[in-house]
Symmetry: D2
Subunit: 315 residues, 4 copies
């Protein structure tokens, strides 16, 4: 049995695991992502890999998934939003340290691949994955293959402009999708609703110690789950944007299935049920034809490492 | 030499031609599209084909391009905006009449295929075609193949929502891209500019007989070409939307080349030059990576029939 | 009994009448507005006045209401949208011809004054009038007096920006209120709805001879009155904007009463009933305090001349 | 010489002063606003008044300015955003405690009155005051008198809708002016600009300890004053909205002068200079007529108490 290692490099943690050809995760190792030090992050990745190799000496390759723009060779991180990488030759840097073949891939792509191979999108050849977390990520399966675009950076759904002259985005533009549909947007909506009508947000405010400005994502999820009307409405607002965005992707891409993942989507039906309604409404006449279903991601926060490991196997 | 026939079915005319394997059009036949009578349109298509077969008896297949949603079998027009087709079995209906193999394809797809094979996109494997005419059409080449999506209707760029709560669209939704970037939008902008400042629109108004409400597209193109400031600005406004839309498609698709065609784009640099500027501005930080160039379509209004004929050959 | 003359100068007709101190119109004279000839318009106004003086020789003064910006002296039309007046000394020009004292006033102001004195706003000291016709007009009563602002041009509600980057307006700006709430907006909405779903607009389309592009305002009013769902929805869309606009004016002005007049409003409850609902929704928490009611104008298209005549009496 | 007391009740402090008929402030007393306890706030106001009476026993009346909706009798606070008052009979409650006549007035109105009587708007009879602070406040002088509207709550400029479907507001609606032009909006813009391009925001980030999320208003003002490009741009963005809002108020109200005050405006030309440019652009053709100038407020954060004291004198 061939084993490979997958590593998911996030803004706060580096999570690695040994993965079987069936997508099973045999063991994981987790380390904090170093602050502001790109060289140091490669060291931590190598340490995670070394620990996994110690446990499973027979591993044959390493796949690394990271947020950012990866070049078409899957060797260099051209730009990363959360880590101080600029034209970082990550593949070679890690390969030198660990003595194994390495591939580097965008983390939206690794998650999409994992869901396609082992999760919610098994058996569907045209798939879009969208992850709703702090921001928005994405990955594309076209004709049963990972679609990377001409320059390796397809699937950047989060920075499609949704609102002309809209909210400023950290990318320097205005009105980007992820300003309206993300954990940050959820918090903004919930705080405004709690300020406008504290009675409707009673449960949510209690969880936040009575302070509107202390409301955070996990409290919104919990309060909504317990029936807090304001928290439910906050989910409903971002679900509207999500449903519209998915309908737009259908106009462009016409996938067979859309998988929704990411931290905010892990609230389950709080997000996806109203997003489905908004999606149907936004499809307009397109609804009369066969159209992509929406399904929740199945692999949770291990999707990234599972997909990275599998892509390393297939390199 | 194998010859095939391509037919482009538009809202006002049916244009057919005999095409060589090199994309050369040997002869064409044109007929008016019948009003409101779907059966009649199939008859006209068959007559056009028959006339072409008379001229070139050796033709081996027929490709038909039409606006609308074509099913994945390329046999049935599920919905067409300009013709009264609903679930029309167009392939079989024509094949019965002409006694040749027939394929039916969306007209944005046929045009994209023609530009990829013989026009502006030769040799590029990831291509988006967008046509700006009365409305917006599109077609996609992915990995050197026509990309049709899971259900055959990918590339419907014109009904992506660009403005929340925006202008009403004939599709029943609001804010669709083609309400902001199309011949109709060009006329709306030019009329408003002429009303606001008739002096700046002097040349344009002269072409329209002095009446703001008589301004139409061809006059705007002519006036802009002659330097009329209002007409140039009207092109600039829709070019802004176009550039933004292309940047959004880059975020999603990351093509190697974008080809811009359609009647409004035939004004040449009046549209494409300012659209390029808007595109660069809208790309934001994405501009620091390799990114798709924008090129004008090369095959004009024969692109549709050339592509249809070639797809029939490769069926 | 003192009689005065009021004249309402519109884009298509000049309507004059002799008016009693109680606001009763004793007789009227109507003439077509000359095209593109400002001097000629003053001649026509003088002819209308002369005909009325013939009938009632004892009239003591003349009030003229016209669209446009009138100076603080009420003598000069600084700018008029429908007539070719620029810094036109209209008061003196007419006074010279008719040998009576003349005052010139904005037509929104004259209508507001008429409704305040003899119509829907009798006895209310803080009133806003808004007229919804081809465009939007307005007039203000503050503390029981006509409020003209510091430079004579208060109450230009139609060019408040409602939508950033919105529809181009003939005034040279974008997103003006009257682009969204006017007869023209009603036609735009109805046409789009009829195009999207001809079945829902069956009655409306029949009135328009089956042609979407032939739909005009009166047909929409008639079809809506007969229950056509698309026509009713078109009214609903512009009523939404109207209700929002009135709520915004409440935030700014806090009137005791809002009177809605103009050609589109003469459809009665088709516009005003849904506008009231939208107004309540748009007021948000402001609804918990006393707030202006909305009432239909009572004096119809004679409001302008009645108000002009009364202002001449009180000059 | 008649002396009166003015008290300005803000969200964080209660500031009282003894004021001469010339608007001179002889002494002030400041206390913290109690949290969440309306009865307690009236006690603190009474204590402030008592301390001022001790110093100037001859004072003859008390004016209290507070954010919120005050009834037409100027006795009851119907709703206050920062203090837990609902239908609070503030006038009588304070009068009982201090044994002097009391008037209660909205704090935007008191500031407008002060600027009209003693500050930037002396001698102008049609004035709009707009304050840009945490939110937006306003006051109106019409015909040389304080304009309170039919129900006492005119001049609530901050909740005019500026963006359909825009940012959620604590008032329960979306797109309110103060979501786009306020201290909070300034911080939002500055943070996004610093995130997008830390180099352009180098000085600002240094003041904020290098943390984007630690950026606050005073740092933006300081950095902009020192030439930080991102901080200057953040001011520019909210100045755009301000200029547009003032142009809209001109269309409605046509004042002779607009006075801009409030904490954000105290940055001086950082806000007002670009707002003037935006105002001129937004006026469009209206600029060809006489139009209100924009002037900075002169009385700073004592405007509220000065105006309240003067209104008490004139009660």
């Amino acid at each position: 049995m061939t084993l490979t290692i997958g590593v998911d490099v996030g803004g706060t943690k580096v999570l690695g695991g040994v993965v079987t050809p069936d997508g099973e995760v045999l063991t994981t190792v987790r380390r904090a992502t170093p602050d502001d030090d790109s060289g140091q992050t490669a060291v931590v990745i190598a340490e995670v890999v070394a620990a996994l190799v110690d446990a499973y000496p027979g591993v044959e390759a390493v796949g690394v998934g990271a947020a950012g723009w990866i070049d078409a060779d899957r060797s260099t991180v051209m730009f990363a939003p959360n880590v101080a990488w600029r034209d970082e030759p990550l593949r070679d840097r890690i390969a030198d340290k660990v003595g194994l073949p390495v591939v580097v891939e965008n983390d939206g792509n690794t998650a999409a691949w994992a869901e396609f191979r082992f999760g919610a999108a098994r058996g569907v050849s045209e798939v879009l994955l969208i992850t709703v977390g702090t921001g928005i990520g994405g990955g594309i399966i076209a004709d049963g293959k990972l679609f990377r675009g001409a320059y390796g950076v397809a699937g950047e759904f989060g920075h499609v402009r949704f609102v002309p002259g809209g909210l400023p985005c950290g990318c320097g533009r205005r009105g980007c999708f992820e300003q309206y549909c993300s954990g940050r947007a959820l918090v903004r909506e919930a705080r405004a609703l709690a300020e406008a009508d504290p009675h409707r947000a009673a449960r949510l405010l209690r969880l936040a110690g009575g302070q509107v400005d202390a409301i955070q994502g996990p409290q919104i999820t919990q309060a909504a789950g317990e029936g807090d009307p304001a928290a439910i409405e906050a989910f409903g607002v971002i679900a509207q944007w999500l449903g519209q965005g998915l309908a737009d992707l259908v106009s462009i891409w016409d996938p067979g299935l859309i998988v929704v993942g990411g931290g905010v989507a892990e609230s389950g039906d709080l997000l996806i049920a109203p997003a489905r309604e908004a999606y149907v409404a936004a499809l307009g006449p397109r609804i009369t034809l066969p159209v992509a279903r929406i399904r929740a991601a199945e692999l949770g926060n291990e999707a990234g490492l599972i997909g990275a490991a599998d892509l390393a196997r297939l390199r």
